[in-house]
Symmetry: C2
Subunit: 282 residues, 2 copies
């Protein structure tokens, strides 16, 4: 039901109408929210291990999950990785952080580097930024013209439909903060010398384009909000709620996939005998 | 000091002389050992974040860590990944599990796939099995002749020396269990249907070659036990100790590297002014 609360309905998107500080689907305090996230841990770990185990089955195709995290600077993509994704076995997770494209990446289609970073069978892939940057900064900074942006929306929809058809469940989260929250967080980085390495003066310049980014997000979400690869807007002014909400979305996604433990493809009693010496090994 | 206790001294190696069930460097109970590992978490996370942050410095070369995990089936490589490596931010970790080489990998030198999996700047790379398989199963199953094995030991030494010279600290752990412990763990897998997917009847066949594997490990460790890329033998019959010991080794390794927070490369007060509006943004 967290899914229903955060799911973006089809049609035009107005992010100014979505509160950034609410906690949909959770009534408790911050301390209770942190505890609720910790309590999700065993469930998430169990479901992830089942998904991972499932790839050893010959009778069903392997599946995977792709969690896309998007949001303005300081919206907490890194925090979700640390606190939520960090709850599951790192062997089963593939995280990719997308930065400005390299010269080599720029010589290819924008989806080239994305395809190389997809989760393998049984994995949970997490994108910290993604192919959506190419229709966000691409639009705001006019790195692509309108026709190219249109082509990219279509390409993204085809790409994600293809992913879903091949067994990858796609969950897209927009971590939604207010401009004031971003200002507070940037100031907090300046106040803490252990955070200076995360601060980039260019982020302040980007802040001036806040309305343009919001509009680019609204268009991107509207154009790529497929039933099979849905967008969720996660109110993210409260870090604890953001981490919990993404955890609940991930848990519900995995639970719906319902991965099951593969059955033995050997004779259990016979193997027991081989180990205890009651049956010859070979 | 855990390093001194577990470090393999130079010269011939006799694994039968190393107890598998001891807990060198830790006096406490199992419960206390688990708590000690949890208590390592914040230290490990802090050191890892500093290492990760350091790559943004222009004035010092980026560094990384490579943790190599080797051991017989059921020795607990996966457990270390889950319980110990899982304590740090997954963004800073690159885990690679090496399986039997693919046909493509077999067409290349044995280090080809290894080089592709090395940690990036600021990362902690973890190998679940590694290039050592090529001198372990390679020897036991006679997949390579003596001359080729000799060439591989030398190639490994050169490769690891090159890694160290380029800023990667290499830590190699042999998770050391007894044959009886392996039998118990394989039987436990048979008793638990949620573990059947981890059970492979071929593992019982491999068990018959236990002395040959031990000898192959002894030779491999002796021939590649470089001062700059040392081997540690971790008694691993007790899972909690194994997880804790690798955690302590990783913590001490990072602490010796002493990564420091990058200083600001901007004027902090000026940036504060730009954010609060007291100074023009551009």
């Amino acid at each position: 039901m967290i899914e229903e609360l955060l799911r973006v309905p089809p049609g035009p998107v107005d992010l100014t109408a979505v509160p950034t500080g609410d906690t949909p689907g959770f009534e408790g305090s911050k301390a209770e929210g942190k505890q609720a996230l910790a309590d999700l841990g065993p469930d998430l770990a169990d479901l992830q291990e089942r998904l991972f185990a499932e790839r050893s089955r010959d009778d069903v195709p392997a599946r995977s999950v792709l969690l896309v995290l998007q949001g303005m600077d300081t919206s907490g993509k890194g925090g979700v990785l640390r606190h939520t994704v960090g709850l599951v076995d790192p062997q089963g997770v593939r995280i990719t952080s997308f930065k400005a494209p390299t010269p080599e990446e720029l010589r290819h289609d924008f989806l080239w580097r994305i395809r190389k970073a997809l989760p393998g069978p049984g994995q949970i892939g997490v994108f910290d930024r993604s192919h959506y940057e190419d229709v966000l900064i691409g639009r705001v900074r006019a790195l692509a013209d309108e026709a190219e942006l249109e082509r990219r929306y279509d390409a993204i929809n085809r790409f994600e439909a293809e992913l879903v058809a091949s067994g990858t469940t796609v969950v897209k989260c927009l971590l939604h903060i207010s401009a004031d929250t971003q200002k507070e967080r940037l100031l907090a980085r300046l106040d803490d010398p252990t955070k200076h390495w995360k601060y980039n003066p260019g982020d302040v310049d980007e802040r001036q384009r806040w309305p343009a980014y919001r509009e680019a997000y609204e268009l991107a979400v509207e154009r790529t909000n497929a039933e099979a690869a849905p967008w969720f807007v996660v109110p993210s002014d409260r870090k604890w709620y953001r981490n919990l909400a993404v955890g609940m979305l991930l848990r519900d996604t995995l639970a719906r996939m319902a991965p099951t433990w593969p059955p033995a493809d050997f004779d259990v009693d016979h193997e027991r005998g081989r180990l205890t010496g009651e049956v010859p090994i070979s």
